[in-house]
Symmetry: C2
Subunit: 219 residues, 2 copies
C-alpha cells in the first residue's frame, strides 16, 4: 500500500513498528496465558498501545492470533533457503534444518506462541493455518533431491516419508516437556535421526551425517 | 469403600452408574467444546444430573477433567495385557498395539476427550497426567524382549528408542486431521512402520510383519 503523502515513509515505518510491537506483546501473552486467557486489554497493557490501536491494526483478537501463527510457525521452510548450497548433501541439509527449527521452537517467543496457538486452535474462532503442508513440501523436495543424487535408500518414497518425518518431528517437539527444554529436545532429535537415517540412507552412516549436520548448526 | 448398610450394594452400584454417566457426558462435552467452553451446567444438562450431584461425585470441573484423562488416555498400556501370548513376536505385538491404540483414539469418546484435554492442559488449573511415561515403559519392555529373542537390530537401545517411537506416534495422531480420520491415520502408521521397522528389525521384513500385525487387529 503506497502512502502518497509528504512524510509517507515515516508514517509507514511507524505503522510497521507499531504492528511489530503489538505482535510481540500478543505472542508473549498467548505463550504465557493461552489464547482464551489473554484479552485485548492485556495486550494493550503489555504493549503500551491503546485498544483502539490494536483494533485499527488487527481488527480482532482472532486476527492477531492468526498473524502470530503465520509470522513464523507456518513459515519455517523458508529457512531452507539457507541450504541452497549445492555442495551440501540433501539429507544433511534436512538434519541441519531440523535442529535449527527445534532451536527456534525453544528460543523464539513468536514461534513458541505460534505452536501453542496451533495446539489451542479449537478454542479460536477462525481457521488456524496448519504449517504442515508447507513443511512437508520442503522435506519432500529434499528427499527427492537425495533420490536424484543416489543418497536415498531404495523403496523410500519421498512424499509419504516426508509426512511421516514431519509428524514425528512435531511429536518429539510437543512431548518434550517445556521444563526439560532445548537440550533434551536436541538429544531426542539426535536419537530419532540415528534410527531413521538407518532406513533413509542408501549407504547408512547416521552418526557421521548427524555430526556434520550439527557442526553446521552452531549452538 | 464399604457401605455397611442394608441395601449397600445397591447404593454402591447406583453411585458407580452415576459417576460413569457423568464421566461420559463430560467427555462428550470436553471433546466437542473444549475444557474452557464446557460448564458444570452443560454437564448437568447433558447428563440429566443436578450440579449438586456433579460436585458430590467429582468436587470440581478440574477433577472431572482429570478423571477423563486417567480413565483411558493415561492408561492404555494395559491393552498390552492382551499380548502376553508368548508365541507372538514382540515387535509384532508392538505394531498391533499401535493400530489398536490408533483406533481407540479415533472411535472412543473418552480416549479422544482425554487427548484433547491433554492438548489443552495449560488451560486446566491442575496437573494433567501425561500418559507418555507409562506408554514409553510398555514399549521399552517390548523392545527389550525383542532384544532377548534376537529380533532387534544391533545398536538399537530399547529405552531411548521407545521415547522416540512414542513421540512419533503421538505426532502422527495429533497431526492427522480429525476430518481425514481413522483410515488416514492407519495409512500413515503403516508408512511409518515400513520406515522404522527397517531400522529396528535384525532381519528386516517390514511389509510382512505389518501384514501379520494388522491381521491380529480386526477392522
Amino acid at each position: 500500500m503506497a502512502h502518497i503523502i509528504e512524510g509517507g515513509t515515516y508514517v509507514q515505518d511507524r505503522a510497521r513498528a507499531t504492528r511489530r510491537s503489538l505482535l510481540e506483546a500478543a505472542a508473549q501473552l498467548f505463550l504465557e496465558q493461552g489464547y482464551v486467557g489473554t484479552s485485548i486489554n492485556d495486550i494493550s497493557g503489555r504493549s503500551g498501545k491503546t485498544s483502539g490501536a490494536i483494533y485499527f491494526h488487527y481488527s480482532s483478537k482472532e486476527k492477531l492470533a492468526l498473524a502470530v501463527v503465520r509470522e513464523q510457525f507456518a513459515a519455517w521452510p523458508q529457512l531452507a533457503g539457507h541450504y541452497a548450497a549445492p555442495e551440501v548433501p540433501p539429507l544433511e541439509k534436512l538434519v541441519t534444518l531440523s535442529f535449527e527449527v527445534a532451536r527456534a521452537l525453544r528460543e523464539d517467543v513468536i514461534a513458541r506462541a505460534g505452536a501453542r496457538l496451533w495446539a489451542e486452535r479449537h478454542s479460536i474462532d477462525a481457521a488456524v493455518p496448519a504449517p504442515f503442508a508447507a513443511w512437508t513440501a520442503a522435506v519432500t523436495r529434499l528427499l527427492a533431491d537425495a533420490r536424484v543424487k543416489g543418497e536415498l535408500a531404495e523403496g523410500v518414497e519421498p512424499s509419504s516419508t516426508a509426512t511421516t518425518l514431519v509428524c514425528a518431528f512435531f511429536g518429539l517437539y510437543s512431548l518434550t516437556d517445556e521444563v526439560a527444554g532445548e537440550r533434551v529436545l536436541a538429544a531426542r532429535l539426535h536419537q530419532w535421526w540415528l534410527l531413521v537415517l538407518h532406513a533413509l540412507q542408501a549407504r547408512p552412516d547416521p552418526a557421521a551425517l548427524i555430526a556434520r549436520a550439527r557442526a553446521r548448526c552452531p549452538e
